[in-house]
Amino acid sequence: MLNKKQMTHLKQLEAESIHIMREVIAEFDNPAMLYSVGKDSSVMLHLAQKAFYPAPPPFPLVHVDTTWKFREMIEFRDKRAKEVGMELIVHINPQGEEMNISPFEHGSALHTDIMKTEGLKQMLDIYKFDAVFGGARRDEEKSRAKERIYSFRDKHHRWDPKAQRPELWNIYNGRHHKDESIRVFPLSNWTELDIWQYIYLEDIPIPELYFAKEREVVEYGGAKIMVDDNRVSDELRKNSRMEMVRFRTLGCYPLTGAVESAATTLPEIIQEMLLTTTSERQGRVIDQDSSGSMEKKKMEGYF
């Protein structure tokens, strides 16, 4: 067991994340934090507040809005940004908006490519951020398990998995040329369980969508999706039902599968997570395209 001098695993993870954030602020000119409104972003934001307390974190929150996020996510995003006193920059790919890109009509791959990956790259080009924090964790997916904490990107925002820099112990190499940048993953070493346990212990606000509630859902693309607005076609909606469901991850509502659940408290959510036999990414259409799909997306500039 632990002796008094040792820190618990959560305290060690917290200290590591805070160290990473402070290193980035010391070394980079124009950092930003990608805020995707989910549980990992919520933890990352909380750690950023701790890292720079009592000042608000010295960088803006940025959100690439696909226009298809759950409405509750958008409300939560705007409310949290105000509460923590940080600037919030929202970017929507204007071409995609003009083309009315829709996951229903154009499919998940094209939608993700235009509204997420392209939108993100546009935003990075406009604001010229040289370091962008993201809440990705290595335990999420097999190509993420191979990524550095400081993940280097070339001037086209591309990741080259075969030319990653050494990262020894807690020594981070931030050197970069003009127009090159890094993505920073302060939660690299956290697991899904660590995240939930920390949210529970620190009482971190997260969107209600994570908790079970009666919601209107319908079968679509092999998943149970929520009818979040009237862009769900009448044809599809004919078969909708009210069910007790919650979400394990949050994204675009037509691409995010709900799980049947009665978990209305954090311990119940954690209990469910520990007893489940499938990974959290299973409910996401984006990862199921093919075996190397996340790696490929990352090489194209995706987070």
Binding site: H9, R138, E141, K146, N189, L275, E295
Partner: protein, 133 residues
């Protein structure tokens, strides 16, 4: 998932309390190429029930195409996550994997075993490190 403790179902609050106070241990694999490092780590994750059904189904599928086990499940694929690693059956870069017991959280770094897979910059760092020791 892991932690096949009865407490999870019976008394989750008590389970959470126990798991608040874990230590953290980082370890890495060392050895020559093809010594079985990645397979060992894959097996460890498999035996400690850290592998979700959808992840196992995916590597069973991939084992038929790229595995080194003649179609049988190749557990090294759990750590060799890059496309080119899977195709070549070797570890090219470090993978980090996680598991925990009742007492400790573990961070495992599964490393490549041959110097050739290291990039020029990595080799130069290694050389400098060796000189400084």
């Amino acid at each position: 998932m892991a932690n096949q403790s009865n407490l999870i179902a019976d008394n989750i609050e008590e389970y959470l309390k126990q798991h608040e106070n874990k230590g953290l241990l980082r370890l890495l694999t060392c050895g020559s190429v093809d010594d079985g490092k990645s397979t060992l780590i894959g097996r460890l994750l498999y035996d400690s029930k850290m592998i979700f059904e959808d992840q196992l189904a995916a590597i069973e599928q991939d084992s038929k195409k790229v595995g080194t086990q003649g179609g049988e499940v190749d557990l090294a694929l759990l750590v060799d996550g890059l496309q080119s690693e899977r195709e070549q059956g070797i570890t090219i870069d470090v993978a980090y994997r996680y598991f925990s017991t009742d007492r400790r959280k573990f961070i495992i770094a599964d490393t490549p075993g041959h110097e050739q897979t290291w990039s020029v910059s990595q080799r130069s760092v290694l050389k400098r490190l060796k000189r400084s020791i």
